[in-house]
Symmetry: D2
Subunit: 143 residues, 4 copies
Amino acid sequence: MATLPVMTRAEVEAFLEREFPQIHHGGRSYAVEAVGPLSACVRLAYHERHLRPGGTISGPAMMALADLTLYVAILANIGPVGLAVTTNLAFNFLRKPGRSDLLSECRLLKLGKRLAVGEVNLLSGSSPDPIAHVTSTYSIPNV
Amino acid sequence: MATLPVMTRAEVEAFLEREFPQIHHGGRSYAVEAVGPLSACVRLAYHERHLRPGGTISGPAMMALADLTLYVAILANIGPVGLAVTTNLAFNFLRKPGRSDLLSECRLLKLGKRLAVGEVNLLSGSSPDPIAHVTSTYSIPNV
Amino acid sequence: MATLPVMTRAEVEAFLEREFPQIHHGGRSYAVEAVGPLSACVRLAYHERHLRPGGTISGPAMMALADLTLYVAILANIGPVGLAVTTNLAFNFLRKPGRSDLLSECRLLKLGKRLAVGEVNLLSGSSPDPIAHVTSTYSIPNV
Amino acid sequence: MATLPVMTRAEVEAFLEREFPQIHHGGRSYAVEAVGPLSACVRLAYHERHLRPGGTISGPAMMALADLTLYVAILANIGPVGLAVTTNLAFNFLRKPGRSDLLSECRLLKLGKRLAVGEVNLLSGSSPDPIAHVTSTYSIPNV
């Protein structure tokens, strides 16, 4: 089912910059690392303002990251066609993240006309074991 | 299965104040409105810093609110016995919230020795229709 | 948001009988107990063929029941307009059911043009505590 | 985190045969295809009794298959230490399965002392695109 993305990594980043400047609120934290056929990878730079006491990255910061990564994967693969909205999001918290960047890897399980479904693995530091696993559904508006 | 809570609303609020001062980071937003048998209600004051463009309250702000409400319900019903952690969180986004406070109502579906499971309805303004519905599981450590 | 259902309990039951005779495969087990504004209730009669060893009702039998109840709630509230399909289903198993009928109570959280979202509580015997809680999304085809 | 399984494919199959003969109720449908480090694969033979009208495999049959595969993965990797129970199960239905066997591939995301979390991709025929994606949590009893 996979075909080449219709936007490059740089095009997606420029689009986000223009349309969603608020994701950089408080300083640049998110970087689109890669986009591919039905996939995307976004990095969240380690920063105090995403932390809870004990140095753990907060659940909401993880959620924002996972949601952004799924949006990037959709955007790169269908183009900037309008405001897709999250309808469903299921989080499994697996391990305590360390004091390092988070890498968020998304694979689209389905990219239909009305719904896109993806899974995201959140990785911390150099460990291959995900700290959280997310599945999420976006509703895609009629064009 | 419901019995009286072991902590009052005021005791829970004082506990949060002492142990989690960071939830008030940036200004006081959360208020514990009520605790009851297997239930709790928390209010998030409407404030610009929880918004996305268009005036919508952000998904991560809703997640933080729902998670806090479940924690308050557990705390009130078992007492301050240690660090319960969220293992699972499933969000359904239903409607766009308005420009008003969010009310978060939690009912515990199960309060076992090892796991607590609850559901949360998020309400906006005076509408009885939830803007989001959440189910979540906490793992309770051995005492 | 709630308005009167457009089909009665008897009409829904007759529709299921005609369109989905296979739900009675092996004997009549399901009975539509009630339909209401954004709600429905279906009973699963206790029967050996839904059991696992130890007398517990199987997870798949519970899933079939919850899914049917959500479908009944949608049907009763929008009428027999075509083949809605389940896109998402999240189960929390809470307690071991007893050797008795299961009652499945559905409340629609949202009934939109494209998506319907509902929650289901499964009750066993006379206990008010649910044995399982389910949230699910149906995709509604364009008419 | 992955280490070698503690049971072989044949040992798991013999265990299921002895402890859960009811999964073969109505004829042999399930075959354990492989077990590996934090993984397992189970096949469901195409058979009329798992169908809904139109030739589609029913949701509950898919659920039973996914649940069994996760159980097999846990069993193979921790040994036959007692009755793990499903606490949570989240299904995304992605595509209509064809008239062929279903292959169920499980990867354990976490195998802790108290909780095991896994994801399952269900594949139909020779397509690499999953027809359903499942995440699920098992509670592991104290030994």
